[in-house]
Symmetry: C2
Subunit: 118 residues, 2 copies
């Protein structure tokens, strides 16, 4: 009955390390993946165009980095795999981090009386 030998290992919520999470998010391709996954679980293949036309081995490697940092979960489902954001775990351990990272960057040209110091 243990038909799920395709299960990958995921760190527990209590084992998440902030610097590891930040590192996982510090790559443009990976951040793009995380952003698209934020809308809901998607299959691995759906991450491909988001990360920018990369071979599947490269994509799989990025997913591994995100998974081992505890940012995403990768679960087998039928013949495919579904990737989902570990939002609850991340929010519990690092409140506000995900919201800040997922938010689109503020407009640099905003009407703010910035203190220009050359």
């Amino acid at each position: 009955m243990s038909g799920t030998s395709r299960e990958l290992t995921h760190p527990g919520a209590e084992d998440l390390v902030l610097t590891d999470v930040l590192f996982a998010l510090s790559d443009p391709s990976r951040l793009a993946i995380v952003r698209s996954v934020a809308d809901g679980p998607i299959e691995v293949a759906a991450c491909q165009p988001v990360a920018g036309e990369i071979p599947k081995s490269t994509l799989s490697h990025h997913l591994k980095t995100l998974r081992e940092a505890g940012v995403i979960r990768n679960v087998p489902r039928g013949r495919q795999r579904y990737v989902s954001l570990r939002r609850e775990d991340l929010d519990e351990r690092f409140p506000g981090l995900l919201d800040a990272v997922l938010a689109p960057a503020a407009d640099p040209a905003a009407p703010v009386p910035a203190l220009d110091q050359t």
Copy 2:
């Protein structure tokens, strides 16, 4: 009369890149530096013990990484240099990020009815 040839270059607030900032913060030594600088400007020498007994060239390298990502400012002052956090710029471009990163990690053993999903 341009006595300030020791000025280092800093990116403008509008040029800050999220992934670069995340990368700069993804190193334990650098994050420790940022946390100690969060209490107010300190001199470079004061960062040394925080980052853990590293030679000054290594410390300088970490400060450069943080500075080029726009996380800190490094300004000459007399014979020394003062390191300060670019809190306003970071808050403007990436609201909530700094607060999330500077906050101590939540207690993993907190009494939360976590949804255990193995």
